[in-house]
C-alpha cells in the first residue's frame, strides 16, 4: 500500500471540492478500494471519506425511494419498503459478499466496485488493458470461466461483479451525481460502460464526481419480483449468472416485464431484447424461452464460459416461470 492522507468530507459540496484534486479518491466502506490499494492497483494520495454523508432512505413524492449513497448494504437490504416494494433488491443484496462486508459496504461504493478478473488483480505478473491500457489482456486466452459473454471487446472480457446493480438495472434506478458543474442524474443502465477499446473507463463519472443517491421510481409490479444468483458455492461467491426480474401479467398476457442479468457483461445487463419480445406475449414457458434465446443470441462466449449462455437462458426461464406461477 502506498501512503495516503485521510480526510472526511463535511458535506457533498466539500467532497466535490476536495475530490477535484488529482490523486483523490472517495472512500465508502473501503471493502473494495482498500483491497485494491493493498494490491497497489489503486494508489490514491488522499482518501476523502464520504461514507457519512448521505445515509438516509426516504420516500419520494412519486412514491419511489431515494437511497443515500452512504447507506450500508445491510441497511438497504433490511429496509421495510425495500423488502415489500422491491424484494428483488433485498434478495440481490443479501446474496452478495458476506454479512461482515455488507455491514461495511455502501451503496455508492457498490456501484463502483471493480471487476474480480484474476489478471486485473495480478498487478505484478499479468497483462491487463484495464490496469494499463494497450498492454494486452491475459484473460482472453487464460482463465475466463467467469468472464463476459455479452458486450465484451477484444480489449477486455471482464464482468461487473455487483449483485445490487443488477436489481437496480431492472428497477429503472437513477443515479444522482454531484460534480464541479453541479448536480445531474443518469439512469443506472447508462451509468456503467461497455469495455470497447478503453476498459479502464468503467462509468460515465467525471473526475471528482460524487454519487449522492440512487433513486427507485415506483414500480407496483416489482412487489413480486425476485433475484436468482447462480454460483459455485452456496454463499460468498460471485455470480456466474444472475437474473433479476419482475413481471406483470394480465389475462394471461405479459403486460410489462423487467429483466436484468449479472455475471455476463462489463455492466449490469438489462435484457431489453427479451423484454421487448415478451411485452404482449402469452405468459408461458414457450414465450419465456423464446425471449431468453433472443437476448442471448448476441452472446459471444469463449472456450471456458460457453456454458453461461445456456445457464443464463435456463435461469431466465426458470425465474420468469416462478414469478408467473407456471411450471417450467
Amino acid at each position: 500500500m502506498t501512503p495516503f492522507k485521510y480526510t472526511r468530507a463535511s458535506d457533498a459540496a466539500d467532497a466535490v471540492r476536495k475530490g477535484a484534486a488529482t490523486g483523490v479518491k472517495f472512500l465508502g466502506g473501503g471493502t473494495n478500494l482498500v483491497d485494491l490499494m493493498r494490491e497497489t492497483i489503486e494508489r490514491p494520495g488522499e482518501l476523502v471519506d464520504v461514507s457519512g454523508l448521505s445515509t438516509e432512505i426516504v420516500e419520494t413524492d412519486e412514491g419511489g425511494l431515494r437511497i443515500g449513497a452512504g447507506v450500508r448494504n445491510t441497511a438497504l437490504a433490511e429496509h421495510r419498503r425495500v423488502r415489500t416494494a422491491y424484494p428483488m433488491l433485498t434478495r440481490a443484496m443479501v446474496s452478495g459478499a458476506s454479512a461482515q462486508i455488507r455491514n461495511m459496504a455502501t451503496v455508492g461504493g457498490n456501484l463502483l466496485q471493480r471487476t474480480r478478473c484474476s489478471y486485473f488483480y495480478d498487478e505484478d505478473g499479468s497483462r491487463c488493458n484495464k490496469r494499463v491500457p494497450g498492454e494486452g489482456c491475459d484473460a482472453i486466452e487464460g482463465f475466463h470461466r467467469g468472464h463476459a459473454i455479452l458486450g465484451a471487446s477484444d480489449a477486455c472480457i471482464a464482468v461487473h461483479p455487483s449483485d445490487m446493480c443488477v436489481a437496480l438495472a431492472a428497477l429503472d434506478a437513477v443515479v444522482h451525481i454531484e460534480g464541479a458543474k453541479g448536480a445531474r442524474t443518469v439512469p443506472l443502465v447508462d451509468f456503467h460502460c461497455l469495455p470497447g477499446d478503453r476498459p479502464d473507463i468503467e462509468t460515465v463519472l467525471e473526475p471528482g464526481d460524487l454519487i449522492t443517491a440512487v433513486e427507485l421510481p415506483p414500480m407496483p409490479f416489482a412487489a413480486a419480483s425476485t433475484y436468482r444468483k447462480v454460483r459455485d458455492r452456496a454463499s460468498y461467491a460471485f455470480a456466474l449468472v444472475s437474473v433479476a426480474a419482475a413481471i406483470e401479467i394480465e389475462d394471461g398476457q405479459v403486460r410489462d416485464v423487467r429483466i436484468a442479468l449479472g455475471g455476463v457483461a462489463h455492466k449490469p445487463w438489462r435484457a431489453t431484447r427479451a423484454e421487448a419480445a415478451l411485452r404482449g406475449a402469452p405468459a408461458g414457458e414457450t414465450a419465456f424461452a423464446g425471449a431468453a434465446a433472443t437476448e442471448l443470441a448476441g452472446a459471444r462466449p469463449l472456450a471456458d464460459n460457453a456454458f453461461k449462455v445456456r445457464l443464463a437462458e435456463r435461469t431466465i426461464v426458470s425465474v420468469l416461470c416462478e414469478l408467473a406461477g407456471v411450471t417450467a
Binding site: Y121, S126, A237, L311
Partner: protein, 778 residues
C-alpha cells in the same frame, strides 16, 4: 538437474524391502505391538471421554500466543517481492527507492544475502524439513513463478509492504516446463514414496482384464490444490549473541526444522531452538519453506529480530500444495462381482528439487481382494514451487478415482455398491500378503448404511426429485494407513507431590493432541488429568515426532510407553525390598490411583509419593525411545471408513450441494470422542471442498497461480456444509499403542467419491474431473 539423489532413495528402498521380508516372518512377540498395550484393556479411565480441548479457553479469549504474536524488543517486519517468471535469471534489481523509503532497515536480495547451504528437502533424510533443496536467494537464478527475489525489513509492516512495492525487477526468461502435455512428451519418470517405487504387480492384470466379462476403464483427473490453513505462515525469530537462532514458528515438525535451519546456516543443531505452542492448522503445510530461511538470513544481515508473516498470496507463492493427477482405473470382475483385476496407473507432477510425488495408489494397495494388480505412479517435473503433502496425500485423490470406478462397476453389474465392496473383502493384504492388524470395515459399512437409510436409495440414476432439485445418494470407502515414523522419544518426570510432566517434541495444531495425550498419560500413570503437564512444540524436547501422516498419536503413544516402562523399572528399583511391590518385574506392574500396583493383584500397591519419599527423592525423570516401527512390516495396518453422501443437484442450473453426510469409521480405539468427531468432520468438510470446489488456477502459460486468495480459491463456507454425522466401531487395534490408529486424515478420503457417486445417482452424469462444478452438470 536433480539435486536430490533418487539413486540413494532407491538403495534405501532395497534395504527396506529386504528387511520387510524378515520382519513379516518374525514371531508376533518380537514385533512392537506384539503384546497389546495394557491400556487397551482399561475401560474406565479418561481415555475416550469427550474432554473439551484444554487450550480452548485460551484460544477463544485470545490468550494463546501464536508464532507471529511473540513480542520481541527492536523487532523489524518483513515483506517480500516474488518473481513473475517461472525460469530464468534476474538481470536487474533496483532497490534504491525502497532502501530510502520511510522506516526501511534493510533490503536483501541475492546480491547481499548471507551465504547459505541448500536446505535438505523433506524426506530426503530423516530430519530434513525443507520444501525443496534449492539454494535460497544465493544467485540470480529463478526456479519458479513466485520465488522470493527480495526481502524488505522495516520498522512497521506497512512500511515494509510499501517499500517492497517500490522494488523493480528485470528478468531474462527461459523456456520453462509448465504444461502437462509438453512435460509428458519429454518423458515421465517412475515415482517413489518413502524410498520405494510406486509400482506393484500381482499376477497378470492386463491378461485378467482382457478376459473378464465385466470391466470398467476410466480416467479421472484431479486439480492442483493449495494449502489454506486459517493461520497464515508466520515466524518471529532472532539471533542471539552466542550465534544461536531462536525461532517462534507455526510448525508441525519443530525438530526437523531446527535441524534443517542449522544445516542451512552451517551451525550446530543445538544452536537452533524452534518452538510452536499453538498452530492454526497445518495439513502438511507448516514445515520449512523459504520464508523462515529468508527471515533468519535477513535478521542476520540487519542484526535485528524479524517477524515475517506471509500474506495469503505469499502462502500460494512460497508454500507448496497438492499436485494435479491423471489416473486411469481399470477394474475387471466376474458375473458375481468378484474382482479379477485392478489396474490403477497414472501421472502426477513434481519438481526436480524435492522427492514428493502424489502417491495416489496407496489406498488401492490394500482395499480389495482382487486376484491381480497393476499399480503405478509416474511423474513429470515442472518448473514450479515444490509441491508437498496435503491432508491424506495420495489417498484423498486416489480414493476419488478408485471408489468412483467401484461405483461404476457396481452399476455395470447391477449390484449394490456396498454389497460389491463387501464381496471383495480380502482375507489378508492382497499385495504384501500380511495379515491385517484389525479390519472391521464391513461392520462400519453395515452400521453406517443402517443409520444413513441407504435402503431408501433408488439405484436408478436421475429418478428422485424434490421440487427443483434432483436428489441422489452415494457411498465410498475411506481408508488411511497407520504410520509410525522412527525417531520418537519421550521424557517423563514424576514428582513427590503426585504430578507428572511429559516432554516430547510433538505438535498441537488445533486437533486436540495435547488434550487427548493428557487423557492417555493420566490413565497410563494412574493420575488425574489435572496432575499431568504435557509439554510439546519445542525442538529442545526429546523426539523427532512429525505431526503428519496421522502418525503422531502412535508415535507419542509408543514413546510414552517406552518411557513409562523405564519409569516403572526405575521406581521398582527405588521401591526396594520393603515395598509391597518387591519382587515384581516391570511387565507385571501397572499404575492406578497415583501409584504402582501388580497387574494381577491390584492390592499390592504403593503410591509414587511413598516410593519417592522412602528413597528420599523429590522427583524422578526418565527418557526413552520406542523400538523401530516394525509393526507395519508385520501387519497390514489401516483405518477405514464407510462414507455416505446425499446430494442435491439443481435441475435448472446444475448447482450441486451436499444435503447430508455420514462417516462411519473403523480407526481403532478413539481417545477423545469430542476432538475425534471434530477431526472426522473437518476432514469430511475438506473432502467436500475437494469434490465440489477446490482448484488452484495455475496458468500454464506462465506457471503462475492466478487465484491466490480465499475469495477466488473456493473452500466450503458454512452454507455448503450440511449436518455431518460421524460414528465409529471403537474396536481397538491390538497392535497399536492404546489400540488407536490415527484419525487426522481419513475424513478427506472417500468423501470425494461418495459425493461424485451421489451426483451420478442424482443425475445420471458421471463426472470424472474434479471439482464437480455446475458447468459439468448442465
Amino acid at each position: 538437474m536433480s539435486i536430490f539423489d533418487d539413486a540413494k532413495q532407491a538403495a534405501q528402498g532395497l534395504v527396506q524391502a529386504g528387511m520387510a521380508k524378515a520382519v513379516a516372518l518374525a514371531p508376533d512377540s518380537w514385533v512392537p505391538g506384539g503384546k497389546p498395550d495394557p491400556l487397551i484393556r482399561q475401560r474406565h479411565g479418561a481415555i475416550g471421554k469427550p474432554v473439551s480441548r484444554l487450550d480452548g479457553a485460551l484460544k477463544v479469549s485470545g490468550k494463546a500466543t501464536f508464532a507471529a504474536e511473540f513480542p520481541v524488543e527492536a523487532m523489524t517486519y518483513a515483506a517480500m517481492v516474488y518473481s513473475t517468471i517461472a525460469k530464468g535469471r534476474i538481470t536487474q534489481i533496483t532497490v534504491s527507492e525502497a532502501e530510502t523509503a520511510p522506516g526501511v532497515v534493510v533490503v536483501m536480495t541475492h546480491r547481499n544475502a548471507p551465504r547459505l547451504n541448500p536446505p535438505p528437502a523433506f524426506l530426503s533424510e530423516s530430519k530434513a524439513a525443507a520444501g525443496d533443496s534449492l539454494p535460497v536467494m544465493q544467485d540470480e537464478r529463478i526456479y519458479w513463478n513466485g520465488q522470493p527475489v527480495a526481502v524488505v525489513l522495516a520498522e512497521t509492516q506497512e512500511q515494509a509492504d510499501h517499500a517492497a512495492s517500490l522494488i523493480r525487477v528485470g528478468y531474462e526468461a527461459e523456456e520453462a516446463q509448465t504444461t502437462f502435455e509438453a512435460a509428458r512428451e519429454q518423458g515421465t519418470q517412475q515415482s517413489r514414496f518413502m524410498g520405494q517405487p510406486l509400482h506393484d504387480e500381482v499376477g497378470d492384470a492386463q491378461d485378467a482384464f482382457a478376459k473378464a466379462p465385466h470391466k470398467i476403464d476410466a480416467t479421472y483427473t484431479t486439480p492442483r490444490h493449495n494449502h489454506n490453513p486459517i493461520e497464515l505462515h508466520g515466524v518471529t525469530l532472532y539471533w542471539r549473541g552466542d550465534g544461536s537462532l531462536r525461532v517462534h514458528d507455526a510448525q508441525q515438525v519443530v525438530a526437523h526444522t531446527a535441524y534443517t535451519l542449522a544445516r542451512t546456516f552451517g551451525i550446530d543443531e543445538k544452536q537452533v531452538v524452534v518452538t510452536s505452542p499453538y498452530v492454526g492448522g497445518g495439513f502438511g503445510s507448516k514445515t520449512l519453506w523459504q520464508h523462515q530461511i529468508l527471515a533468519a538470513a535477513a535478521a542476520r544481515l540487519a542484526k535485528r529480530p524479524v517477524r515475517m508473516v506471509l500474506s495469503r498470496e505469499g502462502v500460494y507463492r512460497v508454500v507448496g500444495g497438492r499436485s494435479p493427477t491423471e489416473q486411469r482405473v481399470q477394474l475387471a470382475a466376474t458375473d458375481e462381482g468378484r474382482l479379477t483385476a485392478i489396474l490403477h496407473r497414472g501421472l502426477t507432477v513434481r519438481t526436480a528439487h524435492n522427492v514428493i510425488a502424489e502417491p495416489f495408489i496407496l489406498a488401492t494397495r490394500s482395499l480389495y481382494g482382487a486376484e491381480t494388480f497393476l499399480l503405478d505412479v509416474h511423474h513429470v517435473d515442472f518448473d514450479m514451487l515444490g509441491n508437498t503433502f496435503m491432508r491424506a496425500p495420495g489417498e484423498a485423490v486416489g480414493t476419488f478415482a478408485l471408489e468412483s470406478a467401484m461405483d461404476e462397476l457396481a452399476h455395470e453389474l447391477g449390484i449394490d455398491p456396498i454389497e460389491l465392496r463387501i464381496r471383495n473383502e480380502p482375507e489378508k493384504d492382497p499385495i504384501s500378503g500380511l495379515p491385517y492388524s484389525s479390519r472391521n470395515v464391513v461392520e462400519a459399512w453395515r452400521s453406517g448404511a443402517e443409520r444413513f437409510g441407504w435402503e431408501r436409495r433408488n439405484p436408478v440414476p436421475g429418478t428422485v426429485r424434490d421440487g427443483g432439485w434432483l436428489v441422489g445418494m452415494g457411498c465410498a470407502t475411506a481408508t488411511y494407513p497407520y504410520h509410525r515414523m522412527p525417531g520418537g522419544a519421550a521424557r517423563i518426570t514424576l514428582s513427590a507431590d503426585g504430578r507428572a510432566t511429559l516432554d516430547l517434541a510433538a505438535h498441537e495444531m488445533g486437533m486436540g493432541t495435547s488434550t487427548a495425550q493428557t487423557q492417555v498419560a493420566a490413565d497410563r500413570l494412574g493420575l488425574p488429568m489435572e496432575a499431568i503437564t504435557f509439554n510439546y512444540g519445542d525442538s529442545t524436547l526429546p523426539g523427532l515426532i512429525m505431526a503428519g501422516g496421522s502418525q503422531q498419536t502412535a508415535s507419542i503413544g509408543a514413546s510414552v510407553i517406552a518411557a513409562y516402562n523405564k519409569l516403572v523399572g526405575e521406581l521398582l528399583k527405588l521401591a526396594g525390598n520393603d515395598s509391597p511391590l518387591a519382587g515384581l518385574k516391570t511387565e507385571e506392574v501397572g499404575s492406578r490411583d497415583g501409584g504402582l500396583c501388580a497387574l494381577d493383584e491390584p492390592d499390592r500397591f504403593e503410591t509414587y509419593a511413598s516410593i519417592l519419599a522412602r528413597a528420599q527423592r523429590d522427583t524422578i525423570s526418565v527418557e526413552a525411545e520406542p523400538p523401530m516401527p516394525l509393526e507395519t512390516m508385520h501387519w497390514s495396518m489401516h483405518s477405514y471408513g464407510a462414507m455416505f453422501a446425499e446430494v442435491r443437484v439443481n435441475a435448472v442450473t446444475g448447482e450441486p450441494r451436499v444435503s447430508r453426510f455420514l462417516g462411519s469409521f473403523d480407526c481403532g480405539r478413539i481417545l477423545n470422542s469430542k476432538t475425534a468427531a471434530s477431526q472426522f468432520r473437518g476432514g469430511i468438510i475438506m473432502g467436500l471442498g475437494l469434490a465440489l470446489m477446490e482448484e488452484t488456477q495455475f496458468d500454464e502459460r506462465k506457471g503462475r497461480v492466478l487465484n491466490p486468495s480465499l475469495s477466488e480459491y473456493h473452500v466450503p463456507v458454512h452454507m455448503d456444509v450440511p449436518e455431518i454425522e460421524v460414528m465409529w466401531t471403537d474396536i481397538p487395534d491390538p497392535h497399536a499403542p492404546m489400540g488407536a490408529r490415527g484419525i487426522g486424515e481419513i475424513g478427506i478420503t472417500g468423501t470425494g467419491a461418495a459425493i461424485a457417486n451421489a451426483v451420478y445417482n442424482a443425475t445420471g452424469r458421471r463426472v470424472r474431473d474434479l471439482p464437480i462444478t455446475l458447468d459439468k452438470l448442465l
